[in-house]
């Protein structure tokens, strides 16, 4: 048995269509069988509600008199991109306010507009013969504009890598607050309720398909940027009219230490055409796998700590290295359920008819890393390899002489096996002298917990360590634990004086 999209739409128009939320589908299939479920269910509704940084909106403000060609545009002091047409701009959710920083970003402007508030529009132009006006400063609300069209270049991810942190300090990331020593795990996505896991082959989900977007009837444009259906991380580019949106399903947020972002509610109704659709929509959280990555490694390829299912993530804790670790969701499952319920009500009340894709997406695609010809500078490129060191048994006076002779402020301290065991700075020596000789040997005054770098570490990462710890040099230790150099603030200046060339 198969059902056509026309049949399903006729049932929707007649008010006879039966819609079911995706999380309820597995039990229905268990009870009625695949064939029975195909007969009973016409539409499966999905939903997700989470942080979708890749969100924003195109605005057309209308022409002023005399007219202006807006070259630079700010909405509530958040800059929007105006290099489009005379009175059009795109405001991105993650653009921060020039006066209030990340606590108020593009996302907050979008929420303010949807809430019915007016927004201060400021624009600048050089003035031309056809567009003589040079500045503009007015208040506008959503109704005053010709268009306010949300476009999300990539959202509604199929699944998302969960995050933990094995370093010894708290990290503030786009995956939220990550406690030290793998103290928590944070994840995103609604699992079996999310749209794409219910159609991983992207048969039903494609260009032109109507969706629920922040309370409005929106549409899938096509594949999202950086989409990766080839390895289970597909995403969608979507659009919708902001005038029909509601703050019930669109919320601005700020991740401490990271940025502003927009929480978007999105749902795709899936027409139950055949047995294949039934089987796909019967997916359970137990079947949906992702990984937990170590965000403590500031690299593109973060190491995987373990594989995990959405069922485990949603249970509230996962096991890592024999310990139970609490999980946090960044997306709201309660809101995701509300999205799917709302969509179900739309279908059953005849408000929304369905459509099949006008164009299918490439299901094998995976994104490439940046083709970065100029390798980012590494510590080994600029570190100082002429080492002046000292052993921990030597007295303070020897250390002071060596610092003077070596014209350096930092003396790495080595033990008898030439391993780095501490560091002594001119500050440590001054402190020892000022406190009238508490201790006589290097061992007594050295800093034992040394913050160090490695030859292959990116200079940007090493610089971040210097800043964060408020120190001015890092010993460089190779993979065998051997001291091979020292990186000081003076070495960093090499990058500026020569200009970095490979």
């Amino acid at each position: 048995m198969e059902k056509t999209i026309e049949l399903i739409n006729t049932r929707i128009r007649d008010g006879n269509a039966r819609a079911v939320r995706a999380d309820q589908m597995p039990d229905i299939v268990d009870e009625l069988g695949v064939e029975g479920a195909l007969r009973e269910v016409d539409v499966v509704t999905t939903g997700t509600f989470g942080a979708m940084c890749s969100s924003g909106a195109f605005f057309n403000f209308g022409h002023s008199d005399p007219p202006i060609r807006m070259e630079k545009v700010w909405m509530n002091e958040v800059e929007a991109y105006a290099g489009i047409a005379a009175v059009d701009a795109y405001l991105g959710a993650t653009q921060k306010s020039e006066t209030r920083g990340i606590s108020y970003g593009g996302a907050h402007v979008l929420e303010d507009l949807v809430a019915g508030n007016s927004v201060r529009l400021r624009a600048q132009s050089k003035g031309t013969d056809c567009y003589p006006r040079k500045t503009l400063d007015i208040d506008l609300n959503l109704e005053d504009m010709n268009q306010a069209t949300m476009v999300n270049p990539r959202n509604s991810y199929q699944s998302y890598v969960a995050a933990s942190n094995t370093t010894d300090r708290t990290l503030y990331t786009y995956m939220g607050t990550l406690l030290p020593n793998a103290g928590n795990v944070s994840y995103s996505g609604a699992g079996c309720l999310s749209p794409i896991p219910n159609d991983p082959g992207l048969r039903i989900i494609g260009s032109g398909v109507p969706i629920f977007l922040c309370g409005a009837e929106g549409m899938i444009i096509g594949e999202g940027t950086q989409t990766s259906p080839g390895n289970g991380f597909a995403n969608l580019m979507t659009t919708g009219n902001m005038n029909d949106m509601s703050t019930d399903f669109l919320r601005a947020a700020t991740f401490k230490g990271y940025n502003s972002t927009l929480y978007v509610g999105l749902g795709v109704p899936i027409p139950v055409l055949d047995e294949d659709v039934v089987r796909r929509t019967a997916v359970r959280d137990e079947d949906l796998k992702t990984t937990i990555a170590d965000y403590g490694v500031p690299s593109r390829d973060r190491p995987t700590l373990r594989e995990v299912t959405y069922a485990e993530l949603k249970s509230g804790h996962v096991e890592m290295d024999g310990e139970e670790v609490k999980t946090s969701s960044l997306s709201s499952y309660k809101k995701a359920l509300e999205v799917a319920d709302e969509l179900k009500a739309w279908v059953e009340s005849g408000k929304m008819e369905l459509a099949l894709p006008t164009r299918r997406m490439d299901t094998k695609k995976t994104p490439r890393p940046m083709r970065d010809r100029a390798r980012a500078p590494q510590v080994r490129d600029i570190m100082n390899t002429s080492l002046v060191t000292i052993s921990e048994d030597e007295d303070i006076q020897t250390a002071a002489k060596r610092l003077l002779r070596g014209e350096t402020n930092h003396l790495p301290v080595l033990d008898d096996t030439n391993r780095l065991v501490g560091i002594v700075t001119t500050f440590d020596i001054s402190k020892a002298v000022a406190s009238n000789g508490k201790g006589d040997t290097v061992r007594d005054i050295m800093t034992k917990r040394v913050i160090y770098t490695s030859p292959a570490e990116a200079v940007d990462v090493a610089t971040h360590k210097l800043e964060r710890n408020n120190i001015s040099a890092l010993p460089v230790v190779d993979e065998n634990g051997k001291l091979v150099g020292i990186l000081s603030a003076i070495n960093l200046s090499k990058l500026f004086e020569r200009g970095w060339k490979q």
Binding site: F49, G50, A51, G176, T177, L179, N184, V185, S186, R251, A253, T254, F255, K256, T261, Y263, G316, V325, K326, T327, S328, S329, L330, S331, S332, Y333, K334, K335, L337
Partner: protein, 128 residues
């Protein structure tokens, strides 16, 4: 029961907590303490049944006592029930009920403030 005990150190260095334990025989668990040269603020945990004895003893010694019951304030109009706060809390104050709604058990809170920082919607605050 958790109590926030505030005391002045101007009167000298009284061993407030130790004295109270000795006088009442109640075991006090110190959860957090901020003590500077003039003032001290200590968050203690005691068995519920001993609340009155401890409050009376502390007040007699000149300290101010506040019962900590609703320490975490959740702004329901801002909260979207995501749960970003749940895993950062060291005390299991925050959890989901069966409808995925955030529940707050303020009686366990030690006022560390981690949930306030972790909330993407700035919906949480601590009792002033």
């Amino acid at each position: 029961m958790k109590l926030l005990v505030t005391f002045s150190k101007k009167g000298g260095k009284q061993p407030l907590i130790a004295q109270t334990v000795k006088d009442t025989g109640v075991l006090i668990n110190v959860e957090r303490a901020f003590i500077d040269s003039n003032e001290g603020e200590v968050l203690i945990s005691i068995p519920d049944k001993d609340t009155k004895i401890i409050c009376d003893a502390m007040k007699k010694a000149g300290a101010r006592v506040k019962k900590m019951e609703d320490s975490v304030i959740r702004d329901e109009s801002e909260c979207v029930n995501c749960g970003a706060c749940i895993s950062v809390c060291p005390q299991d104050v925050l959890s989901f009920d069966e409808t995925w709604t955030l529940c707050v058990d303020g009686s366990k809170c030690v006022l560390c403030g981690k949930c306030v920082d972790a909330c993407p919607h700035q919906a949480l605050s601590l009792l002033p």
